[in-house]
Amino acid sequence: MLLEMAADAFGDRVAFVDPVADSSITYAELLAAARTAAQAVHDSGAERLAMLDVSNLAIPVGLFAAGWADVPYVPLNYRLTEAEIDALLERITPAYLVTDITHLTAFGERQGVAFTSRGDFLGMARGGGGGDDYRSMDPDSVGVLLFTSGTTGAPKAAVLRHKHLVSYIFNSVEFGAADEDDAALVCVPPYHVAGIGAVLSSVYSGRRVVQLANFSPEAWIEIARTERITTAFVVPTMLARIVHALEGQESAHMPHLQSLSYGGGKMPLAVIERAMQLFPDTDFTNAYGLTETSSTITVLGPDEHRAAAGSEDEAVRRRLQSAGVPLPGIEIEVRDDEGRALPTGERGEIYVRGDQVSGEYEGRGSTVGADGWFPTRDAGYLDEEGYLFLEGRADDVIVRGGENMSPGEIEDVLLEHGAVEDAAVVGVPSVEWGEAVVSAVVLKATATQTELQDWVKQHLRSSRVPERIEFWQELPYNETGKLLRRVVKERLDTD
């Protein structure tokens, strides 16, 4: 329906551009291709349309074709090992799988999976007659099945129904709001919820999307300039690398870049402050969301970024580290372990309610309570003005001698030390305390364990001082910039 509207209102506009393949597709062509592909998927008898590929024109065709064929769209992580991909494929058969040549060769024949190469799929879709003219979409049908990154165990499949996705778009995007020359640069992988959100919101707003298949800061900067990009989304590690690549320059020289939003992990204060200097004309937005909530639920907008950066008031400046305020149609509550709402300023688990919230996993049902609230497993608190501050996952909370502490708070203090480049704090089993606070630190100048312990002691209660600090070359992150705490914990625990 979103695409039908776009094709109806601005069919001749370019919808997606793949600079690597030097090809593009208009909104009218995209609708025709999606309808044709939907017919092929339907005829194959597949019950899922899976996509194992980097960003390219087949991604939006597949997403909308799945909707048209009324089968879930399942984007898979192409960085997984063959065994991991096999395990996921087994869970989604009978499936119609679109993939690149490398994966096509690697996987060959699999029971219940109809394989098609990206090229053949696009050729078929763009060469066809357009398929059925009208098919009504059931709001309760599953639109997207997304395997979560599984930083703590086997991947879960989050179920997003059409009603959740459409609700997210209606709450966050105004139809046709984009100007004729607006262009979005999409560099998040298509299997990430932000990748799905980028496709849907760009289509609904009528923007031209330029796809960047394999992120590198150099390629991002080059395309942003040559394609005169007006809006982009990055995860924190990407922005850190872009800022690093621009170091030594006075500005990024991108006056056309009106807005740059970021999310998907914790943004270091130094990175966002430097980015705001390098992109003085750009509006920055921090977007916080989860796969289970159909992407963004809270935003820290451009005005708040500027107010925070220029402020002498510590409380206002701290807001640069906040996830912002809820989107229209979203409610946020912070609760304690017993599920009771906590007052302002107190730390607990973040709960969210709204039409875009799914909270459902395949085979496990919904985790949304009878009252409509979904427990995010993220920890945080709300300040007096209703700004949300995140403090890692609820499961990351360290319980030392009966005292709960958030690793994020200790990490923030360590990061403020001049010699510290990066820091992770975790709890490891301790006979004396139940859990002991330990830390892994990446240095950019010399410092000793004692120095850093004294530094923490000056800023926080002594119970929060890491018993042991190890110095590492780097911390383990996944490809979208999430710290792999489980890995940090395992390494620190075995010593």
């Binding site: 329906m1 509207m5 009603k163 209606f170 105004e174």
Partner: protein, 100 residues
């Protein structure tokens, strides 16, 4: 008269207008377009009532006076929308930050 729920699609019987219900009040509501009740797409052979001919615009949201009913125009047409006889008004566009 029909009971409406969010997500319900309705078509005009006298022009090309199509809408989707975003929010609906409890109970029965009759939504008309061009002066004729909207339904599943069957045309009634009639024409747009000149009193209901201001047209609909794609992507615009329309609301009733108390805001309990909100619909989204997904296909434009010549008729204009009303609920239980009262004309629906265009809801102002929201200013939203770009999040992705």
């Amino acid at each position: 008269m029909t009971s409406l729920s969010a997500g319900k699609r309705l078509k005009s019987a006298v022009c090309s207008t199509e809408i989707m219900v975003i929010a609906a009040p409890d109970g029965d509501v009759e939504i008309t377009c061009g002066g004729s009740p909207m339904g599943d797409g069957a045309t009634n052979g009639g024409a747009v009532d000149p009193g209901h001919a201001e047209g609909t615009a794609i992507g615009k949201r329309y609301v009733n006076a108390d805001g309990s009913l909100e619909v989204l125009c997904v296909k434009a047409g010549e008729g204009s929308l009303a609920a239980d006889g009262d004309a629906l008004a265009v809801k102002d566009a929201k200013k939203l930050p770009k999040t992705d």
